[in-house]
Symmetry: C2
Subunit: 390 residues, 2 copies
């Protein structure tokens, strides 16, 4: 189950023809009766924000955070496409609004795919009535929407959660160009909680900061990143900020981990945790520096516990540290402490390095703060996937 798990939502996924392969490339997530639900969104901070990001920002403001549906397309990012790209995105939104009988400002739009190629709006216009016609509740419809936003993803990413009887659901797409400093992918989160758009904005900002902004694949921040949350209110229950955050964060955490697990060409998911820091910002800076290191990522691909590279990254994270207090552990086995390599069970560490998911822990002192950044290994397959667009 996914976005259709909370009460009051329908979804669909169709092939509009934007992808020449004729695979599914258009998803729709809407409230069951097209009523405008409270919504919020976080968008890429890239100055080269794509046309759909520009249009969605405008609509979210114009509707005062009241959204009936999110239209998502894959195969072409509609980014770096100028004023024509923006007009095309608006045209698609208006077409959907006409079919559904709502105001265009109550529809958000997201696109993902290649940058710089004119967006085939005529294909989108063909697909929109079908996507509208196939809207349905239930597991299959949600999964179909998740499939329709995939690009180089190898599996559809879905998540659900409950807080009391309030439900949460989500879909996402990732693959490459995933970095911190914003949503860096597309995701739609739904809940049947009763909430205001202001509460959703507060909660989503925090949840994104703690989840999507703590994964990194290649340090690149995309032009199209968007996370949208909609609250149908169908459960008739209001939640505190803390409860709502817990509900949303679990969905975002799951989707974020799935994105790294499915990172382009990757063979390993690595959780880099920094503990013992003075502040959470320090812990995050250190974990991020290690997680973004090409050399560290190469070592994980080679199953090589080369802690020297980890130490080198820790020393250049821009955090003032007493290096005599730094230790490094793979899967709970400490390999470095007190400035030198420890005696340790090399076979046991070897088994840790064989794993599909690996915990790398860096302790930097006896401070109370910690942070985790999730990354993937760097592999020849990543390069093969990214060396040419065609």
């Amino acid at each position: 189950m996914s976005v259709t798990y909370p009460l009051g939502f329908v979804a669909s996924g169709v092939a509009s023809g934007i992808k020449p392969s004729r695979r599914k490339d258009m998803a729709l997530v809407a409230t069951s009766d097209w009523h405008a639900a409270a919504a919020a969104a976080t968008f890429t901070q890239n100055l080269a924000a794509a046309a759909p990001v520009v249009v969605s920002r405008q609509n979210l403001t114009a509707s005062a955070g009241q959204v009936a549906a999110v239209l998502l397309t894959s195969g072409n990012a509609n980014a770096a496409t100028g004023v024509e790209g923006e007009a095309a995105a608006k045209h698609a939104v208006e077409a959907l609004a006409a079919v559904a009988g709502v105001h265009p400002s109550q529809i958000l739009i997201c696109s993902t795919g290649l940058i710089g190629i004119p967006w085939p709006v005529e294909k989108a216009l063909e697909g929109i009535p079908r996507a509208h016609g196939e809207l349905a509740g239930g597991e299959e419809a949600g999964l179909s929407a998740a499939e329709a936003i995939m690009t180089t993803d190898t599996f559809a990413k879905t998540a659900v959660n409950e807080v009391g009887s309030v439900r949460f659901g989500g879909i996402a797409k990732g693959a490459a160009m995933i970095a911190p400093n914003m949503a860096t992918m597309l995701a739609v989160v739904t809940t049947d909680a009763k909430a205001t758009s202001e509460q959703l904005a507060r909660v989503l900002g925090h949840a994104v900061e703690m989840s999507f902004n703590r994964i990194t694949i290649d340090g690149c921040t995309s032009t199209n990143d968007t996370v949208v949350i909609m609250a149908s209110g169908a459960s008739r229950q209001e939640l505190s900020d803390e409860e709502l955050t817990a509900g949303v964060l679990a969905v975002c955490d799951s989707l974020a981990s799935q994105i790294v697990f499915d990172a382009e060409g990757s063979t390993k998911l690595i959780r880099v945790t920094c503990t013992g820091a003075e502040t959470e910002d320090d812990a995050l800076a250190i974990a991020r520096k290690v997680a973004e290191s090409s050399l560290v990522k190469c070592s994980f691909f080679g199953k090589d516990p080369y802690w020297g590279r980890v130490i080198s990254e820790v020393g250049t994270a821009g955090v003032d540290l007493d290096m005599t207090q730094v230790s490094v552990a793979y899967g709970g086995i400490t390999v470095y402490a007190n400035l030198v390599e420890m005696g340790y069970d090399r076979e046991a560490v070897g088994r840790v390095m064989e794993g599909r998911e690996i915990d790398l822990e860096v302790t930097v002192g006896d401070g109370a703060a910690s942070a985790t950044v999730i990354t993937a290994d760097l592999t020849p397959a990543y390069i093969a996937e990214n060396m040419r667009t065609s």
Copy 2:
């Protein structure tokens, strides 16, 4: 010619046995008569600075910038080796000082190679008398020293220059773990100018900032980076700061470019230039963000002029820009301007992408500031070289 081109210097390169392969692994650059020459150095800013960096910093301070020789070893970085590593580096310096009859503080030491493995000081002690015995002037001796500091380098890096009748020479080693924010490799620059250590420090700092700190291979800053400059005074000529900088910078520029040209696994050298910025810091931030992008680097390996990724990096460089003013050119051919792809000669751009060296120019407005960062492409061979240490 290289470090022995300026008057008053001798050099040597021998195999001490630090490298199990028995290839050359120990270089010595000294003044001809072992007199203490004015010297300066820039060191890594990594908090996990290696033992030789710690010892060289101490000696440079203790000798008030008066240095008779630099001992350089390859094959083992003597980094993350604790107090024993520091004692070993000091031991080697003292052994050389005894052989040469100078005070240990007049000798600097640099090491490069694997991190975290005890430094085989007994091998170094065997090599030192031989390195001392083989010291000579002339081209062959300088080249031998350049060869002895190679690790995964595929060719020895040397450079010379003249300002009037004052000579300059240099050797360097690079390969991987090259990033901005410090010297990020080993280099020794010599000159027969008459200079104080204070003038050398001023000039070297500026020259390193403009050369070695503007190349990037993988964004990683090593534990051992050191650039040393020594002035023998043998030409009896003093130069102004401007003249001395010009002389040193040309040597540093040449060595820095050679390091990128020989970057691990690379097939292309890419000069990323940002022009039209308001400030040089802005231009540098933009050029660096593009040059460090894994996705951009993958595209160059694939010979794909995927300007969309360039634009995306420009938009996340942390510089406030009017994106309507941004244009992108490959080899002088503009492919993107006014927010959209331009009509351009695709065959001509295809020929540019076939080149061993490529110019990528990003114009961001009509400001007067510009900056260039030199990088290499990201290839499967880089990963193969870095996935395992053994």
